[in-house]
């Protein structure tokens, strides 16, 4: 059996300045708007960081759209891809709601063609190609959200980030399995 040797290299990610996220933002992401309204926030800093996350979710949604529309995915993989896309749409909606609650303007979704160009969708020739792209994006998202956690002083924010990361890690795991790739040889392979 071919072993995938996961690097022990650090994978701290792009949201490492999440100490800027306020407890109010945490509450909004957790669905507790009443609590959020009672807490002081730092809207401009929060909105900037949340918009980066929203940009990632927009891209993920469109990546799955490209995959689903490519004609390359067969059932049941197609159904799974659509299911994962719906998860990202829920992440998107939660982020948009939070940004708007903070008085910010959510970054807009680009056109599908723009995502297709940026992700080099023209190079996708097989189901495996689509799954490989999705797996790379899901791993990036997993590590992005995990990268938030060490910076947290607020345990509630850490929990929200962990929940988002768990969704992405679940996606990556299923995609990796669908690709016929083995599980990581070592533990603690995410977010290192």
């Amino acid at each position: 059996m071919k072993l995938v040797v996961q690097s022990a290299l650090s994978r701290r990610n792009f949201l490492a300045t999440t100490t800027l996220l306020s407890a109010g933002t945490v509450a909004l992401l957790a669905g507790n708007t009443a609590l959020a309204q009672g807490l002081a926030t730092n809207p401009s800093a929060d909105v900037g960081i949340l918009n980066v996350a929203l940009g990632l979710e927009h891209e993920a949604i469109n990546a799955y759209q490209l995959g689903a529309g490519s004609g390359l995915l067969q059932k049941p993989v197609l159904d799974i891809a659509v299911s994962f896309q719906s998860h990202h749409k829920q992440h998107r909606d939660a982020l948009i709601a939070t940004i708007q609650k903070l008085g910010g303007r959510p970054v807009e979704e680009k056109k599908l063609d723009e995502y297709a160009k940026a992700l080099n969708a023209a190079a996708l020739k097989s189901q495996g190609d689509v799954l490989d792209l999705a797996a790379r994006l899901e791993l990036g998202a997993t590590n992005a959200y995990l990268g938030v956690i060490p910076a947290f002083k607020d345990a509630a924010l850490a929990k929200v980030a962990a929940r988002l990361a768990a969704d992405e890690a679940m996606h990556w795991t299923i995609l990796t399995n669908a690709l016929g790739r083995p599980l990581p040889a070592s533990a603690l392979s995410f977010g290192a």
Partner: protein
């Protein structure tokens, strides 16, 4: 210390620094790091959540023509070089307040390898 000794010491120190740089900068490892950490937002040749990285070394900060930068980056007069990239990866907000990238790399070896890899992407 004699003049000759001083010169020898300086030469030895320079050699050590050079040796350190040559031994530890690892673009191959940097590529692996890039794949695991950066591709969530960046690609070498395409603008995504973040700008494309090809040619970043030597480029003006905020210099990718068709990328929607923050005003802070767009207005910067800095030019990316090895040292500036190192400082950016340590703490982007400290270097250019108002920028949007929350990502930082705390480990010096990781930063060195990432920057070394980026230098190969001309």
């Amino acid at each position: 210390m004699s003049s000759i000794s001083k010169r020898f010491s300086t030469l030895a120190l320079s050699f050590f620094v050079l040796q350190t740089s040559v031994v530890f900068a690892d673009a191959t490892r940097g590529k692996s790091l890039y794949e695991s950490r950066c591709v969530g937002c960046h690609s070498i040749d395409a603008n995504r959540v973040g700008p494309a990285h090809r040619g970043v070394v030597g480029r003006k900060v905020g210099g990718v023509a068709d990328f929607d930068y923050s005003p802070a980056l767009k207005g910067s007069k800095l030019v990316w070089d090895e040292q500036l990239l190192q400082r950016w990866l340590i703490n982007p907000e400290a270097l250019i307040p108002g920028q949007r990238m929350g990502y930082s790399v705390s480990d010096a070896k990781d930063r060195t390898d990432l920057v070394d890899y980026l230098q190969t992407q001309k």
